[in-house]
């Protein structure tokens, strides 16, 4: 029983779908926070009769003025790893992976835990440092494992044909090879 490991095209497709989801999430968060910030800056949330807060308010206003332009960059840097770690840990697949019927598993077929997910994200960073060669390793590996998969000890399988079969197949001793 051989699992259907996900190849370069499926994984790139899932990655692009996730980029779209993340872009929407980031843009939405940025817009909501900026709208709230602008409302506060415009003073609409202030009670003009409550003078005791005025001193504090000016401090908040200054802080908001300086902080609002950073909302976008902070969201753009923090959302992708949080999004991936959360989805890999909770469901074993990001929405993009779910669209392509992919699931990330540990090399022994068990589901991904928090530590493994964090290592995998670090593996992504390592792949970026290798100018994407780490990702391209997927195409050259028998188990279709990229650098990030080797660092985290994970595999990505097609689980849409028969989910139980994919997980069971990964769990067979032949598939646990650390060499990929």
């Amino acid at each position: 029983m051989t699992p259907r490991y996900a190849g370069l095209v499926s994984r790139t497709g899932a990655l692009l779908a996730d980029v779209v989801v993340l872009a929407v999430l980031i843009a939405l968060t940025q817009w909501v926070i900026q709208q709230i910030g602008r409302q506060i800056l415009a003073g609409s949330f202030l009670d003009p009769g409550d003078c005791s807060r005025a001193t504090e308010w000016w401090r908040i206003r200054t802080w908001l003025c300086r902080g609002l332009p950073w909302v976008g960059p902070v969201a753009a840097f923090s959302f992708p790893p949080i999004y991936r770690v959360a989805f890999w840990t909770v469901t074993g697949q990001t929405p993009g992976m779910a669209l392509f019927g992919l699931r990330v598993l540990r090399a022994d077929g068990r589901p991904v835990r928090l530590g493994v997910a964090l290592r995998r994200v670090l593996g992504y960073v390592a792949c970026l440092f290798t100018f994407g060669i780490g990702f391209l390793m997927v195409a050259a590996s028998r188990q279709r494992r990229g650098l990030h998969d080797r660092i985290a000890g994970t595999v990505v399988v097609h689980d849409w044909l028969d989910p139980a079969r994919s997980v069971a197949a990964v769990a067979t001793p032949r598939a646990v090879s650390p060499l990929g």
Partner: protein, 141 residues
């Protein structure tokens, strides 16, 4: 020309023959033979085929159907019946919207499933194609 006596005699003989069980058996055997006969079957098949092919029969049927449809179109009874059924149907849908909702949801779900299945199948095939290409480039078996 037979005389009156001869005619009477012939009628009586014929009546006696028809009343006799022998005549009945004879008629039955003749009928059975006719039913079993290939010639009769061929004739029947030929007649049916000719009727099927006949433009005159076609035209007759068309004319009749057209006439009936025209009459139905104008019929107040049919209009009332259709209106009543439509009202009933709409009332039923109003009372049980979950059925139509389920139907619509089911259709959208199956359309989405078809779309994702197509996408996944294409991606899977592309994965294999890329693998084959890389294997060829790296000269791997």
């Amino acid at each position: 020309m037979p005389t009156g006596f001869q005619a009477q005699l012939a009628d009586r003989i014929a009546a006696r023959l028809l009343d006799s069980p022998l005549a009945e058996a004879l008629i039955e055997r003749v009928l059975q033979a006719l039913v079993r006969s290939a010639a009769l079957e061929q004739l029947a098949t030929h007649v049916v085929t000719e009727l099927e092919r006949s433009p005159a029969v076609d035209a007759l049927v068309d004319r009749q159907v057209e006439r009936v449809l025209r009459a139905l179109e104008k019929s107040d009874v049919v209009a009332a019946l259709v209106q009543e059924q439509a009202s009933r149907y709409l009332a039923h849908l109003e009372e049980h919207p979950e059925r139509i909702r389920g139907l619509v949801q089911g259709q959208s779900r199956s359309a989405a499933r078809e779309l994702t299945d197509g996408l996944r199948e294409r991606a899977l095939a592309a994965d294999d194609a890329v693998d084959a290409l890389v294997r060829r480039l790296l000269r791997r078996p």
